[in-house]
């Protein structure tokens, strides 16, 4: 009997369906989450099989991207789960699990339930955004018979109601999520990459290099960012690429200043001298030794920065300077609802709520990260 049980356990461990292996190894919670994730994606796949297949051949990038994301998500769920099971198995035999600073922080982060829920919400939002063309019940831009379809209150066919042109707001909110969330993430990545590299370079070389680079930052910061954005949006035709670039390229100086301060103190530490003493060239010292040590506070500000970028995009779109209708973004959807607030509250309510939920989730995530990386709290864990 015991043999039969361990046999099933062994089979489950090798199973391709994510989550089964974790279940067999006693990691029930992680197993269920992985399984739920996979089943959800499989359900979407089966439900929208024809859309999924035609998506690959569609001449539209958004549909092709959705189908590709679906495949990528499934593949990564399987690969990640199998890798994790392997890791857990190898650790079972090992008495001591090495505690890297990252892993300690991760464990602390998991203790913060609010932050963990924020992560779930953010992941769900990004999933929905990636799969929007497969999930949306209607074409977000198609205008049906306006007279009979406009200003419909939320119902089973139109969960978020319809707008003044009779378009389905649920579908539009899904597509709007793609625009808002991708702009937030991409602009953050651009800002943090430039800011980190720039600030670290200035701090490491110091002296005249530092002086010149940081004066440029001072000048940059002296411009009021929002008006600079307004001006740039006025010059260039606003589309997603332009908005990402504008948001990313206007908000890196803060990161640069912040990172410079971190690196200035790190480079005085002996391990930097040790890195120089083994003959590492400057760029490897900066990217391999200094930046990784300064990265945890950057992660915290990165989460806040995504929220800031999404907010800024929504603000620009609300003013009619960002993403232009008919392409939906949460910002321009709220703007469209503004005129109808008294007789059709749902037009502004749903995108506005999504916006609020997203921003709050990112703030909670940032809070959780900050607490998890707090070096003082970290020390208490070790002592």
């Amino acid at each position: 009997m015991a043999n039969a049980r361990s046999d099933t356990r062994n089979i489950l461990r090798r199973a391709w369906l994510p989550g089964l292996g974790h279940w067999a190894l006693g990691h029930r919670g992680r197993g269920i989450r992985l399984l739920l994730f996979t089943v959800t994606i499989l359900a979407v796949l089966l439900w929208r099989w024809d859309l999924f297949v035609t998506g690959f051949l569609a001449p539209f990038w958004d549909r092709r991207l959705a189908s590709l994301s679906l495949v990528a998500l499934l593949a990564s769920a399987v690969a990640l789960s199998r890798w994790d099971v392997k890791r857990l198995l190898s650790e079972e035999g090992e008495a001591q699990i090495h505690r890297s600073p990252m892993r300690v922080a991760l464990r602390r982060f998991k203790e913060n339930r609010l932050a963990v829920w924020a992560v779930y919400i953010i992941v769900a939002l990004y999933l929905v955004a990636a799969l929007a063309p497969l999930l949306a019940p209607f074409d977000p831009a198609a205008i049906p018979d306006v007279q009979s379809n406009r200003y419909l209150a939320p119902s089973w066919t139109h969960p978020c109601g319809t707008d003044e042109f009779g378009r389905d707001l649920f579908s539009r909110a899904l597509y709007g999520a793609r625009v808002s969330l991708s702009i937030g993430l991409l602009a953050m990545i651009i800002a943090k990459t430039i800011g980190t590299t720039y600030g670290a370079t200035a701090a490491y070389f110091g002296g005249a290099v530092d002086n010149v680079l940081m004066r440029i930052v001072d000048i940059w910061i002296a411009f009021p960012t929002f008006y600079l954005m307004l001006m740039l949006v006025g010059i260039f035709e606003a589309n997603i690429t332009v908005l990402v670039l504008i948001l990313g390229l206007t908000s890196w100086p803060g990161t640069a200043r912040f990172i410079r301060g971190e690196i200035l103190s790190l480079k005085e530490q002996e391990f930097t001298e040790a890195a120089r003493a083994i003959g590492l060239p400057a760029h490897l010292i900066i990217f391999r030794h200094l930046i990784p040590s300064a990265l945890s506070p950057v992660l915290v500000t990165a989460a806040l920065s995504v929220a800031g970028m999404i907010g800024a995009e929504a603000g620009l779109s609300f003013l009619g300077l960002g993403i232009r209708p008919p392409t939906p973004s949460w910002g321009n959807m709220v703007a469209a609802g503004q005129d109808n607030l008294l007789h059709a509250w749902w037009i502004a309510f749903f995108p506005g709520s999504l916006l609020a939920i997203t921003l709050i989730s990112f703030s909670l995530l940032a809070d959780g990260l900050r607490d998890a990386f707090d070096p003082k709290a970290l020390m208490q864990k070790f002592v």
Binding site: Q96, H98, R99, S100, P101, G206, G207, E268, Q269, E270, F271, E273, A274, A275, R276, A277, I278, G279, L280, P281, R288, H289, P292, S293, F382
Partner: protein, 321 residues
Amino acid sequence: MLLSVRDLRSSFFLDEGELQAVDGVSFELDKGETVGLVGESGCGKTIVALSILDLIPPPGRVVAGEIQFEGQDVLRMPPPELRRLRGAGIGLVFQEPAAALNPVYTIGRQLSEVLRLHRGLDRQQARRETVRLLGEMGIPEPEKRASSHPFELSGGMKQRALIAIAVAGRPKLLIADEPTTALDLTVQAEILELLAHLQEQHQMAILMISHDLDMVAEMADRVLVMYTGRIVEEAPTADLMTAPKHPYTEGLLAAIPQLGTGTEAPLVGIPGAVPNLLDLPGGCSFHPRCRLADAECEREIPGMSSVGSRWRCACFKTGAA
């Protein structure tokens, strides 16, 4: 000759003025030789070590002098060659192993960084060589320790790992800057043993920097004694330990506690304190603390003069004797 340092002068340019941390130091080092560099804290020992690798942090720099390693001028090397020198030519062991290891990375990763940089190994070769090196350093369970982070190791283990990093590039000279100061006595002895063993295995020269004359005497063939940025005495270890010529060396020796001799003689310290480098006394900088000092010592700086075979001393009173 492996290393020759000629009239090295290194200064820090502070708001208060120029601080001459190293003021005209000359010495030579042969292949496979162990030389000790001894002096009180702040006498410039570490700056000599950093100068040899051209690693002095700003606002300091080498002001004058010549450093030749294997016939090449270190101070005029182009950056890529200088980087090869650091690690592949000369290895440096730091005083505080806890501070010199990057806390974010595993020991193995920091060690393979050197192996890949200087010996051109690929990821897998580096991994294997890492484990072998850690084993050679006397670290138990090297496979496991390679994936440990610095904070998971004891002080002695960290120092072994740091020595492994210093010798990983197969340097011809190992500079050990107070390698045992942060460790307790039993571990000190083990680390010294390890260094001696490595020297024999790899035919390395060692420049051993310490404030502990007794410890240096155990390892070194020759000893250099430094005071306020200058070398005051240079002698074979046995000569220096039995019949020091310079009053400062004499004072250092007298300050070593003698155990088990039966004579409960009180410890003799050197009177006075090390002078401020920004405001050195004129003449021989040791004269305010010296029992032999007279008017000449206050007026002029004594040069190094030969007092025996490979034995030199910078003192007007005993040097000529």
